[in-house]
Structures are given as C-alpha cells and as structure tokens.
C-alpha cells in the first residue's frame, strides 16, 4: 500500500498539472484585472498612492501611477488569453517583487499608508492601523501563482497552446 500511495501522486501529476496551470493563469489574470480596474477610474489618485511610498519624485510617481493600471489590465488580458504566458508570468513576478519591496520598505520606514494595491491608497487616517503583513502575504500568494506559470507556462485553453497546435496536456518544457 505504501508503494501505491507514493506512486499515485506522481502518476497523476501530468493530469493535475495543466489544471493547476489553468487555475493559476486565470487566478493571476483576475488579480491584475481587478487591481487595474480599481485604479483606472482615477489616475491622479493612483499617482498619489504611488507618491505616498515616498521613494521617487512626485512627477515620476504620477507618471508611474497613471501607467500602472493600464499595464495591469494588459497583463490580465494576456494571461486570460494565455498569450506569451511565461513572459507575462515573469513580468507579473517582477512587478509583485517590486510591490512587496515597496510595502516592506514603507513598513520599515514606519510610514502609515495603505498599499494602494486595489484602489484606495495613500496615507491612513489617524487610528487606522496599516495592514502590511497581510498585504505582503497576499502578494506572496500571487507570486506563487506567477512562479508556477514561469516553470510550467503551458495550460489548456491558451493561445500559446493553440499557436503550437499542441494537445493541451502536452509536455512542454522548452518554450
């Protein structure tokens, strides 16, 4: 029994992996679409949220704050379509690392700000405690999704798979 129990998960991996890949891809797509969608309606506020981190000059912060929601939406659409999945996952991971570093540095410097991850952002009112740890843990979870797609980018129902003419479950380790 011990032998079969050990063998079964390994045997099921080729079946499970594409499903996990699809879940990770759509999950990460949803994250970016929500994050971008929440900010796209008020680009000036998005710039203020970036500026609240106090890591770059105001003009740079507002330009990044204006561009970021659209980049997030575009990343979400690329992942939703499954186009250039490995690259999109890599850029997602890089962005998430930057966000985590930003939140950690705000924490370390004792700033009292909202991360501005899904809209809002900026300094908190007196008496409101910042929630840096949950924000970082959440971003680490998103980073795990991106990491999975970096290692195994191919998933069913993706443009990448369609372009390759592959059956969705094909091994593909050299994309």
């Amino acid at each position: 029994m011990g032998v079969t129990a050990a063998r079964t998960p390994a045997g099921r991996w080729p079946v499970v992996r594409p499903r996990l890949g699809l879940a990770a891809r759509l999950g990460l797509a949803a994250v970016w679409l929500f994050a971008g969608g929440a900010k796209v309606g008020d680009l000036a506020a998005s710039g203020r949220a970036v500026n609240a981190y106090q890591v770059m000059p105001y003009e740079v912060a507002t330009a990044i704050g204006a561009a970021l929601p659209f980049v997030e939406l575009a990343l979400g659409l690329l992942l939703l379509a499954g186009l250039a999945t490995r690259l999109s996952a890599g850029i997602s991971a890089a962005l998430l690392v930057v966000f985590i570093a930003g939140i950690a540095s705000a924490w370390a410097r004792g700033l009292a700000i909202d991360c501005g991850c899904f809209g809002s952002g900026g300094q908190l009112a007196a008496g409101q405690a910042p929630s840096y740890l949950p924000e970082i843990l959440r971003d680490l979870g998103f980073l795990a999704l991106a990491g999975f797609l970096l290692i195994w980018p191919r998933s069913p129902y993706s443009v990448d798979g369609w372009l390759a003419g592959d059956p969705p479950v094909e091994e593909d380790d050299d994309e």
Binding site: V40, G41, D42, L43, A44, A45, G47, R48, N51, A52, Q54, Y58, T62, A63, G65, A66, A67, L68, P69, F70, V71, L73, A74, L75, L77, L78, L83, A84, L87, S88, I91, I113, G119, S120, G122, Q123, L124, A125, A126, V159, D160, L163, A164, D174, E175
Partner: protein, 238 residues
C-alpha cells in the same frame, strides 16, 4: 540496412531541429507582441492622465498667492488645513477642533489656509470631492467660504454614495447667504474645477498623502486635538 537506419535517424534529427527552430521563432514573436502590448498600455495610461490635467486655473478671490488654498484671518502663525469634504475624519476633526481654530483666528494669533483637496473622488459615484471643492471656490468668490465649508461638513454625505447633487450644493450655498444665481452658475459651469485640481496636486507634491492634514508654519502636526493645536500655535508664535 544499417545505412537506411542512419538516414532515417538523420532525417528525424533534422525534423526535430526545424521544429525547435519554429518553436523558438514563435516564442520570440509572441514575446515581442506581448511586450509591445504592455508598453502601449502604459503609454495610453500616461497620455490619458496628461490629457486629463488642465494647465491653467483661476484661483478664487481670497486664495493665497500660490493659489493653493483659501486664507482666513491675518494672524502671524499659519495653519494649513488639508481637507476633503467627503472625508469623515475631517468632519470629526471640524467638530472637535474647529472651534479652537476659529478662536485662534479671531484672536489674531493665527491665520488659516484651507486647502479643499479632492483626494476621495473614488469614494463617490459623481466625483463629489472635486465638485464640492470647486463649489467652495465659488463660495469664496461670494465671500462665504467659511460658512459654506461649515455647512458642507454638517451635511456631509456618506462615502460610497453619489454625494450631494449640484442643486443641493447650490441650495446649501443659498442657505449661507450666497447669491443663488451667481453661485449657481459658478457651480454648474465648474468654474473652479481646474483650481481644485491645482490645490490637490500641490498638496500631493508637498507630501500630503491623506486628509485631514494639519500643518503649523509648514510643519505637520500629528496631535489634532484642541490642546495639541493650541500648543503648536503657541510654540510657533514665540
């Protein structure tokens, strides 16, 4: 026999190489396409933001020289107040410390520069923060900025709602003694919308990241209680 085997093998190697080459090209082009999409998306965001920004503004009468706030009083110490008419903590602050500030102004110890920033537009469905701030510029034009500000905080709509309509803002203005026709057309035309944008951007540049923010002679004061404000003004006046 063995030579045919070798030929077959060689052909397979060539086929595999061609397939690999094809795959590499496909990956390259999809990657280039994706990067182009992301760069274009970023440029769209930046240009949308730039086109939304207006370059010129007219500050209302009673504004400071920089046009970043409305001045009340003439005292030697400057109290900068950054508030959003939709911000509930600002309303609380006005209730607990507003009277203290009024006394400091009326006793000639301090003047107030009130910056009606529009930080919370996302928390109303009708950009109430911008509309109310621009309306306060109209009230300044009619000489009733303070009265209008107090009335707006007293009738503050909840966050997440549509806020007060322009008609309601005009009624409130008329209620504090503003000329309903002049004030009404000023509110409806958005005469001071560009000014609100300037006030808001200038506050962000000065590192004001939330409302309310209180500064005494340019230094942020975290204790916004009546005692804290009085102490900060006394210290600055020495």
């Amino acid at each position: 026999m063995s030579s045919r085997k070798e030929r077959n093998q060689a052909a397979r190697v060539v086929r595999e190489q061609l397939a690999r080459e094809k795959r590499r090209k496909r990956t390259l082009w999809t990657s280039v396409g994706a990067v182009v999409v992301l760069v274009i998306a970023g440029l769209i965001g930046w240009s949308v933001y730039s086109s939304q920004k207006s370059d010129t503004f007219t500050a209302p009468p009673g504004a400071n020289d920089a046009g970043t706030g409305v001045v009340l009083g003439t005292g030697p110490v400057t109290i900068d107040l950054y508030e959003d008419y939709l911000c509930p903590v600002c309303k609380e602050f006005q209730q607990t410390s507003g009277e203290t500030i009024n006394q400091l102004v009326s006793s000639g110890k301090a003047k107030v520069v009130f910056h009606p920033v529009a930080y919370l537009n996302r928390f109303s469905t009708t950009e109430y923060s911008t509309r109310s701030s621009a309306a306060s510029g109209c009230a300044a034009k009619g000489g009733k900025f303070k009265e209008f500000t107090d009335a707006l905080f007293a009738q503050q709509p909840p966050e997440g709602s549509a806020g007060l309509s322009n008609d309601q803002l005009i009624d409130i203005g008329a209620g504090v003694g503003l000329n309903k026709d002049d004030f009404g057309s000023c509110v409806k035309d958005g005469t001071y919308t560009a000014w609100t944008e300037h006030v808001t951007e200038d506050a962000s540049k000065d590192g004001v990241t939330g409302t309310p923010t209180l500064k005494v002679n340019g230094t942020a004061v975290s204790d916004r209680s009546p005692a804290g404000i009085t102490a900060a003004v006394e210290a600055a006046g020495k």
